[in-house]
Symmetry: C2
Subunit: 511 residues, 2 copies
């Protein structure tokens, strides 16, 4: 008789091995770019790919030889997801380390995890000085992370019982909640095709807007992942209005549930428009843009202490000036609103210069996040809807304590346990946030930077407030802060409990 082990270690090692092999293959994809642009870093990229391939392949081969049972338990799931994300981030940092572009281990790990978690917070102070082969790898980490999130959401999180993700699954094409297993592979594949198709379409549109093939490829990869790594030091600020609008549209799409994007390809527009989460998503974007556009337009018109109505009156004759300013205000706001709510994190204008109120508004958007089932991070809109509806009903329940009044979402009653789970998630999110600020303050950071950096890393967004604002980077933070923020990115990306549960005693007890 064999002893039963707490975890299926061999299978865990074998799957992490596969992840490293995938890493290796994507690194090799960067090689031709490195050679084409005549860069020295091809040696570093090849070496990194080899190390990933050999260690990954070796681990896989070793654990397969032990012929582990295929029986994957829930607990193995938590370990695979968390350890997998950590291991690929260590090994994915090799191109940076070996090429010397990011010589510190802390920085390389931060940058790579920032990639895989689709956060986009960067330690690079001069992005344009880094070789194109390496920058493509940087963009690819985000694209891989986005693919990973799609599998995670469709196939893994609902099984692990993570905060209300079952709600999304009921919506995925070809999946019924009671018969999940058999169709998962098919669904994941379908959504990957959508992801690939959208990336390709955006790239073509960016090239039509006169962007180079290389830049278009990079920005398409990091838009669809809601990642936000750019190959430009100024992010999207120097880009043409056309290109900015293309990015705006694709950020919006990337923040949409990929099942709805699949409907987009199929032309089922009605199904998109009647989705309740989508309605909220579009309304928040629309409402925020309207409100903040007015504020920015007003601020631009009164620059230098001028009187608003006098300016408008004086410019009434040359209405083109007014229109141009209105369009610029609208575009800047729309770009930043969508970039933040979808947790992409590209920057085309500095929102910290838009009055305290507008900055705070943007900051609040950081805690909303995109739709569930997209590549966006953050709390996600569906959870806010459940929260809002439940709070409202709770008041009704208080007046009529004996009545049973369930929350309804997309015309279905949401079970008590899912509602409970969602409330729990939201509280955990804000508690983690509060603790995070305390830790960052203990490391000597000022309040605004602490608030901004934790919010942006936990929400997988990218730009924050204070010294890590939209036109700054994370290079100057102490090493401890970088490791801690990396942990925040991991927590946020894996919906908190996947990681936290590993630290509880229950997890390590045999049952």
């Amino acid at each position: 008789m064999r002893k039963t082990k707490l975890f299926n270690y061999h299978l865990i090692i074998s799957i992490i091995g596969i992840l490293l092999v995938i890493n290796s293959m994507f690194m090799l994809f960067c090689l031709p770019f490195s050679l084409y642009y005549n860069e020295d870093n091809w040696v570093a990229i090849t070496a990194a790919a080899l190390i990933n391939g050999i260690i990954g392949g070796g681990s896989f081969y070793y654990s397969q030889k032990k012929s582990p049972s295929k029986d994957l338990k829930k607990k193995d799931g938590y370990l695979i997801v968390t350890l997998g994300w950590i291991f690929i981030s260590f090994f994915g940092g090799l191109p940076y380390l070996l090429s010397g572009d990011i010589p510190s281990l802390t920085d390389a790990f931060f940058e790579t995890l920032s990639g895989y978690s689709t956060t986009g917070a960067s330690v690079l102070t001069d992005i344009e000085a880094v070789g194109k082969g390496i920058l493509l790898w940087r963009s690819l980490t985000q694209w891989i992370g986005g693919m990973g999130i799609i599998v995670l959401t469709v196939a893994i999180l609902p099984i692990l019982g993570i905060g209300g993700m079952q709600l999304f699954v009921a919506e995925a094409p070809g999946i019924s909640p009671d018969k999940l297993q058999p169709r998962i592979k098919e669904t994941a594949k379908r959504l990957w095709w959508v992801y690939l198709g959208l990336t390709f379409t955006e790239m073509i549109l960016l090239m039509i807007g006169d962007m180079s093939f290389y830049d278009a490829l990079n920005h398409a990869l990091t838009t669809m992942a809601t990642g936000g790594f750019s190959t430009k030091n100024s992010s999207a600020a120097a880009m043409s209005p056309f290109i900015q609008y293309v990015i705006i549209i694709f950020m919006f799409i990337a923040g949409t549930n990929f099942t709805l994007n699949y409907y987009l390809f199929k032309g089922r527009f009605k199904d998109i428009l009647k989705n309740e989460e989508f309605k909220y998503y579009a309304s928040i974007v629309g409402g925020s843009t309207l409100l903040l556009s007015c504020i920015v337009f007003f601020a631009l018109s009164t620059e230098g202490g001028k009187d608003f109505w006098e300016v408008i009156y004086a410019e009434w004759g040359s209405s083109i000036v007014l229109l141009e300013r209105a369009e610029k205000s609208f575009r800047d706001v729309l770009f930043q609103v969508i970039s933040i709510i979808t947790t992409t994190g590209y920057v085309s204008a500095d929102y910290t210069g838009w009055t305290t109120f507008a900055t705070m508004w943007i900051f609040v958007l950081m805690f909303i996040g995109g739709m569930a089932g997209s590549t966006a991070g953050g709390v996600k809109i569906v959870r806010h809807i459940i929260l809002q509806k439940n709070s409202f009903l709770e008041l009704k329940r208080q007046l009529h304590p004996s009545a049973i009044i369930p929350v309804r979402f997309n015309h279905m009653a949401v079970s008590q346990s899912i509602t409970y789970n969602v409330l729990g998630f939201i509280i955990a999110y804000f508690l983690t946030y509060a603790l995070g600020i305390l830790v960052m303050a203990a490391m000597g950071l000022d309040l605004l930077t602490a608030m901004g950096s934790v919010a942006t890393c936990l929400g997988n967004i990218g730009p924050g407030l204070g010294t890590v604002g939209p036109v700054d980077n994370f290079a100057h933070l102490p090493d401890g802060a970088k490791w801690f923020l990396s942990f925040m990115m991991l927590l946020g990306r894996l919906e908190l409990t996947t990681v936290i549960i590993i630290f509880t005693p229950y997890f390590w007890k045999k049952v």
Copy 2:
């Protein structure tokens, strides 16, 4: 047949009438002080007392003549509590307005509601210039508010079903949750005697510490209410260490469940020490004091950029200097920690000068609050315990979805609906907080002031951050901000839902 009305209006008016008569009687209590100190304001006080008495008595008489049914419904309860608090704040502001000490209606309302809600945020820029009769009235508003809160917690909130207050009731002496009604009056009376006795004891101790009778009376009144209004411009900063320690002890007692304080009088110390919420309360105070004392001691020793160990080494010989500094650090920290966690809000040292980390720690304490069943505001410790235990168990439930694992508190299982209610309260608290910051930012306040003012008013604390820090006041805020913050004080004091529920459509529907 009589038409059934939505509310029992006559009974509501009659009860509010009684509240105004009580107002009037307490105003008359200030009159001898005014006369003794030869102040002109006796006219204003008398006039205010007359107006309160006549309008209150008239309303009572009028509605009694209509002989309303004694049948008080739940909905009437919400209205009485909310409207009652608002009406006495308007009429309680008359002494300020008529004496001219606070000539603006906005300011007078703010100061009075700040009193009744035991918040202690003040618009007075020079407290010592105000007449003693008026200042005593100011202190009395807090003491009345504290009495009101005790009735509210024991008798009213549990019936209205407010966020987990049932948990406290099960603890109150002589109350069993299934047979609540008959003993409520008795319990409330008993706790009022405890309240009165503690106020008197503190006053005597302060006088032993060489404080004048007048100052001792005022500070005893505002300590036991966890109110924090002081008769001194510098609050407690200039007081002797003995007096500071007396205030520390009584703030701690005021933040303790009054049922436990009743045990204190009865000498049932074991019952106090085995109370779970009390253990948390003492631990948070102890832990915070230990941690922050070290930080403040270190900061004081290294003032002017000196090296810590060199200073310690140099002063080792004259150990009295070291000890004095250690005692001062300990006392300052203990005072501020207890003042903030009990939501009293006296100030003996400026915590905003204690490094970002220590300030943030104090700020976090603002969201903890004292024990349920005390006069303290804020979220309250019992709710944090339920939250913490439930979060931990939620992870266990995730691993074993079929198991039913209830939260246990004071060795009893907490029902699912109470847990749910507590989670809902905490979320509502933080949502209100976030919305509050946005509103304050929209009124043009800077981020720190917005964060601090909403936190301190919602938690009924007193001092905040930024321009409303511990050594500042609220006078400079725009009128809109003062009205909004008044609303926040009311929301916080009435446990949010008592007020919010009135704004829902359910409330105004006949059932």
